[in-house]
C-alpha cells in the first residue's frame, strides 16, 4: 500500500496482515504517516496504490459494513461540549448498542455522566473518547495516540480495555510515541517505508 498526501508520497510498498487477537504498534517520526495509515485502514483516506482486504475480500466494497467492524479514535476527541457525557455517547449507543453507564464506568467517568462535556479537562475528554470503544465490541480498533493527555491510572485502564478486546479476538492498530501496556505487540516502523527522495512516483 502507498499513501500520498498533498502530492508527496508519505510511504509506499507497505504490506501488513493482522490476525485476531494481534496488536500492531506503529512508530515513526512526526509525518512518517502513522495517522495516514490508520485513516487508510479506516477507509477515510484512499490508498494511492495497493488494496485493503478483509478476510481476503476488498474491505471497502461495502463502506458502511467496513465502518461497522472498526472503531477509530483520531487526534480529535469528537466530543460535543454542549452535551452531557451520557448524551455524547447516546448516539453511538443507539448505533452500536451497548450500555452507556458501563462504558463511562470503564473510563472512570461514571460520576460525571450528567455534566456538560465542556467542563471536562483535556485528559477527561480523551477518556470520554475512549469510553466509545468500551460501548460495544468491534473486531478492529484503530487508535491514533490514545494516551495524549491521559494520566498513569488512565493508561492502566486503557491497558485493561485493550487486553479484554484482544482476549475476545479483537485486533488493534495503534500509533504511539509512548510505551503502551500491550504485551506481545508487533512493531512497525513507518520510517522504513518512506520512499527515497529521488524516487519518481507515477501520478
Amino acid at each position: 500500500m502507498a499513501v500520498r498526501r498533498g502530492g508527496r508520497v508519505v510511504f509506499a510498498g507497505l504490506s501488513l496482515t493482522l490476525r485476531p487477537g494481534e496488536a500492531l504498534v506503529l512508530t515513526g517520526a512526526n509525518g512518517a504517516g502513522k495517522s495516514s495509515l490508520l485513516r487508510l485502514l479506516a477507509g477515510l483516506l484512499p490508498a494511492a496504490a495497493g488494496e485493503l482486504l478483509w478476510e481476503g475480500a476488498p474491505a471497502l466494497a461495502d463502506a458502511p459494513a467496513h465502518a461497522a467492524r472498526l472503531r477509530y479514535l483520531g487526534h480529535a476527541d469528537a466530543v460535543k461540549p454542549a452535551l452531557t457525557l451520557a448524551e455524547n455517547l447516546a448516539f453511538w449507543s443507539r448505533r452500536w448498542g451497548g450500555d452507556i453507564g458501563a462504558a463511562l464506568a470503564a473510563a472512570d467517568l461514571a460520576p460525571l455522566a450528567d455534566l456538560p462535556a465542556r467542563l471536562l479537562s483535556a485528559g477527561q475528554r480523551r477518556r470520554l473518547a475512549l469510553a466509545r470503544l468500551a460501548l460495544a465490541p468491534a473486531p478492529l480498533w484503530l487508535l491514533d495516540e490514545p494516551t495524549v493527555g491521559l494520566d498513569a491510572a488512565s493508561i492502566g485502564r486503557l491497558g485493561g480495555l485493550l487486553a479484554a478486546h484482544r482476549g475476545a479476538g479483537g485486533m488493534v492498530v495503534v500509533a504511539t510515541h509512548v510505551a503502551l501496556p500491550l504485551p506481545e505487540a508487533r512493531g512497525l516502523d513507518l520510517g522504513a517505508a518512506a520512499p527515497p527522495e529521488s524516487e519518481d512516483w507515477p501520478a
Binding site: A42, L44, G74, A76, D77, V79, L83, W92, R132
Partner: protein, 216 residues
Amino acid sequence: MMALVGRELRLALRHPAETLAAVLFFLLVVALFPFGTGPAPELLARLAPGALLATALLAALLPLDRLFGAEAEDGSLDQLLLSGLSRMEIAAAKAAAHWLCTGAPLLLATPPAAAMLNLPVPAWSTAAAVLGLATLYLSLLGTAGAALTLGARRGGVLLPLLVLPLAIPAVIFGAAAIEAAASGLPARPFLLLLGALVAAALPLAPLAAGAALRAE
C-alpha cells in the same frame, strides 16, 4: 438515521442562539422594507411576496456553513462517516435537522412578518406554506452546497454563491403563489410546482451531498 436527527436537535436545543438568530434576522430584514418604501401600503403589499421569500431564504442560509464545518473541526465528521450510516443518510439527516431548526421556526415568524409587509390576511396561510416548502428546498440544496464547500477556504462566501442561483425557481413559484392568494386567485397550481421542486430535490440533494462529503 433518526438517532442522528435526534442528536442534531438536542445540540440545537443547547445552542438556541443559532435558531433565534435566523428568526430575528428574518424579522429585522422584513422590518426594513416599510422604512425603505415610505408611506405607501399598496406598494408594500406588492413587494411582500418577493420580500418574504428572499428574506426567508437568506435567513435559512445563515447557519449552513457550520453544518459540516463544526463536525469536521472537532473530529465528529470522521466518526459520523464511520458510524455505519451511508453518506447519503448522514446528509439527509443533516438537511432534516437544518430545516427543523431554521425553516420550521421561520413559519412561526411568518404572521408578524406578513403583517409588517401589509400582506392581506387571507394570503397568510399560503405564505406560511410557501415559506415552509421554500426553506425545505433550501435546506436540501444547502446541505449539498455545504458538503461541497467543506474544507474550502472562505467556504462561507462560496456557499451562497453556489446555492442561491439554484433557489431562483422556488422564489418564482413561491412569490407567484402568495401573489395569487393575495389577489383572491387559486394558489394551488404554484404550490404544486413548488412541491414538485421539493420532491425532486428530496432524493437528489442528499445523493449529491453524500457524494461530495469526504474526510480530509
